[in-house]
């Protein structure tokens, strides 16, 4: 499975390109709107074309990500997929409790992280050594919170709560407890 960092590169490129384009457009507009000139009447056809463009962009974004971001369909179909490994993890009193000292798995193995909370709403995220995030989910008390993942690269990863659970939860981190090998 493609690494989530590759998807973030793509998103960064696309959004940066858009930001530069819209800023240039607004700069051009701000200049031109103060200048004398023949203002051609804007035809409704242009307006409706713009509406059509927005509809296409709005819908196609989600269709495109469905076919290009592998964990999207994996997530929606996870109930029908048999994982290679399951890790049952619990959270209470601002601490994670793991089934073993280290969670070991291989690259591209389908791993299900099943996290339960006994008190508050927490988050569950896996982070790389450089603090960038691999993925996350919310952990709601009284409900099943599971995420199916395939690691793309070997390495040592950390677990961190990604949701605020009061000031006591700031240090809800387990460093270097996930080991992914070839």
């Amino acid at each position: 499975m493609v690494d989530s960092i590759t998807v973030l590169y793509g998103q960064t490129f696309a959004y940066t390109f858009y930001v530069v384009a819209i800023m240039l457009l607004m700069l051009w507009f701000s200049y031109k709107v103060t200048r004398d000139g023949k203002s051609k009447e804007i035809k409704p056809a242009l307006f409706y074309s713009f509406v059509g463009f927005l509809v296409v962009i709005g819908v196609s974004l989600h269709i495109a990500t469905h076919y290009t971001i592998p964990w999207k369909s994996l997530d929606l179909e996870r109930a029908e997929i048999t994982p290679d490994k399951i890790f049952d993890i619990s959270a209470a009193d601002h601490q994670f409790k793991l089934p073993a000292e280290k969670l070991s798995m291989k690259v591209n193995e389908k791993v299900l992280f099943n996290v339960t909370s006994e008190d508050l709403t927490y988050g569950f995220g896996i982070f790389r050594q450089d603090n960038s995030m691999v993925f996350q989910m919310q952990v709601i008390p009284g409900h099943k919170n599971d995420v199916l993942w395939q690691f793309a690269k070997p390495g040592i990863y950390s677990i961190r709560s990604t949701e605020y659970s009061g000031w006591k939860g700031v240090n809800m981190i387990l460093r270097d407890v996930v080991e992914v090998t070839e």
């Binding site: 819908v59 989600h62 508050l120 709403t121 988050g123």
Partner: protein, 538 residues
């Protein structure tokens, strides 16, 4: 005039508070209260920016999260609600050419919001009650971390704001529908249908087109006010639930948290909360853009009927998008994530895109325009939403949300750019255009300061959002503390951008005080000498 004289009496002594009508005073009071709470929010924001660079002992984690809890609430309720409610309580009667239904109720709204905001801010500041604005169950009732008394006053403060909000809602709808003394009987039912867009909706399918009884900006205000009412109801209901737990605790009984389902709670609370973010803000902003564009150009709004229809669609969309906040909640049904979270949310790109396009074309039709303060701030506001809405659409995707949720990306390029650049610059545009009307011709003290404010606010707002976004893409979470300088380079740049915002606001505040003078500010809060229900002096 000397600087001291100008400071006391305003630029050229032109502002005379005794010449103001009660309505003008009411609106200006809202603006003053809103600006003071904006100062609270900016200063607290700067404190958080510094703490994100390096946690300092003088603040501490508990105080940091108490600030993080109060900051958005002070910004939205204390500042934005005050300015928006004040402006709309003036504009609805102004555009309908009749007096406000009740100035007294308007004053109640003002003081309930002002006092309520101070109570929840102060109780959070003192007691460190900090469940954040999201109030994820059962955190607001977790008394092992938070003071029961602090929480009780916090919730009471929020409740006062919501009661004030309810009074605003009543005042707006009564003003649209009531018959002033000596007037011919007004068709209340038809007016309300027109305001809510029901008659316009029927026009789409009927050969006999009915005339719109209310103008487009009033229709926008009415539709946004529906969301305001629903939101107030949800927040009040949630507040009562939390208060039940607090009162029981005070009497020595700890109620079970599991009595309330955390996911169900999260759904209803986000349904209500999203009526602010995706409902009234977008609808109010679109309506304000339309009004400003027509006032600046003196031209008719481009595609006015479509704009009306889009406002109606936006209202319905705002009732059905909440699930984009629960895309990382694995127990949330997948169908809701796709339909409500992804698809309906994409409609916001369409409705806000239409408002953007219609406003630009209307401005274009008035070429050549002078680059006045209202125009430049309006263009800034348009740019803000053009940047922030697509950022929001991206994070409302199931695939991208898995790697963006709760990172600084959400709160930077989306939330802060939308609020600071999009919403706030739109409000500044409205303030600049209404200033001469509300002050009977007071003269702005310094255009240079206004220009300085524009550029510092624009660059500071976009810069802060961008650097927070970069940190988020690199994994920085939005609701935690990093003690080892993990993201310090981004946070230093974000803090510098925040400092630009603060400096810009101080320049604006000084400019306004010098425009109306200290005596003028005090005079705004004194009882009106003119006894009239008219909006402006005759």
């Amino acid at each position: 005039m000397s600087i001291k004289e100008t400071f006391m009496n305003g630029e050229e002594g032109l502002f005379k508070p005794n010449s103001l009508t009660p309505m003008q005073k009411l609106t200006l009071r809202f603006v003053v209260v809103g600006l003071i709470y904006y100062a609270f929010a900016v200063i607290e924001g700067m404190m958080m920016r510094i703490y994100e660079v390096t946690p300092i002992a003088a603040i501490g984690d508990e105080q940091f999260f108490a600030i993080m809890t109060a900051h958005p609430l002070v910004g939205i309720f204390g500042s934005t609600y005050s300015i928006v409610f004040g402006a709309f309580l003036f504009l609805v009667p102004f555009l309908m050419k009749k007096p406000l239904w009740s100035i007294k109720l308007g004053n109640w709204t003002l003081w309930l919001i002002a006092i309520g905001t101070f109570i929840f801010w102060f109780s959070g500041f003192i007691s460190h009650y900090s469940p954040l604005y999201t109030l994820y169950w059962p955190l607001p009732a977790d008394f092992s971390q938070f003071s029961v008394w602090g929480g009780t006053f916090f919730i009471l403060g929020i409740a006062l704001v919501m009661v004030g909000t309810a009074f605003f809602v009543v005042n707006v709808f009564k003003t649209i529908t009531y018959t002033p003394e000596g007037w011919e009987k007004q068709p209340a039912g038809a007016l309300i249908k027109s305001a809510l867009g029901l008659s316009g909706f029927r026009n789409l399918f009927s050969k006999k087109k009915k005339e719109h009884l209310v103008s487009l900006p009033v229709a926008a205000i009415a539709r946004g006010t529906v969301d305001t009412a629903l939101n107030a109801g949800i927040i009040l209901f949630t507040g009562v639930l939390i208060l039940v737990y607090m009162v029981a605790e005070l009497f020595g009984t700890s109620l079970k948290h599991s009595a309330v389902d955390a996911l169900l709670y999260k759904n209803w609370f986000w349904w209500g909360l999203d009526l602010i973010a995706d409902g009234l803000v977008l609808i109010f902003v679109a309506g304000t853009w339309y009004l400003l564009a027509t006032m600046i150009t003196g031209k008719k709004l481009f595609m006015e009927n479509i704009a009306r229809a889009a406002l109606f669609v936006e209202m319905v969309v705002s009732w059905t998008v909440w699930s984009h906040h629960l895309m990382s909640d694995q127990a949330q049904p997948g169908i809701l994530k796709i339909l409500s979270g992804e698809m309906v949310t994409a409609f916001e790109l369409i409705t806000q895109g239409l408002a953007f396009f219609i406003t630009l074309v209307t401005l274009w039709s008035g070429r050549p325009l002078k680059m006045t303060n209202p125009l430049k701030f309006l263009l800034g506001g348009l740019l803000g939403f053009a940047l922030a809405v697509p950022a929001g659409i991206m994070q409302a995707d199931l695939g991208l949300n898995r790697i963006l949720h709760n990172t600084q990306w959400i709160v930077g390029p989306h939330v802060h750019v939308a609020i600071l650049v999009g919403l706030t610059m739109t409000l500044y545009s409205a303030i600049y255009i209404l200033l001469p009307i509300l002050t009977n011709g007071a003269k702005l003290y310094s255009q240079k300061l206004a220009d300085f404010h524009f550029w510092t606010h624009l660059l500071g707002g976009i810069g802060m959002g961008a650097f927070m976004g970069m940190a988020g893409l690199n994994g920085m979470l939005r609701r935690t503390v990093y003690s080892n300088g993990e993201f310090a380079p981004y946070m230093i740049l974000a803090a510098l951008s925040g400092a630009l915002l603060l400096v810009g606001f101080l320049a604006f505040f000084y400019n306004i005080v010098m425009t109306v003078g200290l005596n003028g500010v005090i005079g705004i809060f004194m009882p009106a000498k003119l006894k009239t229900k008219d909006l402006l002096p005759s």
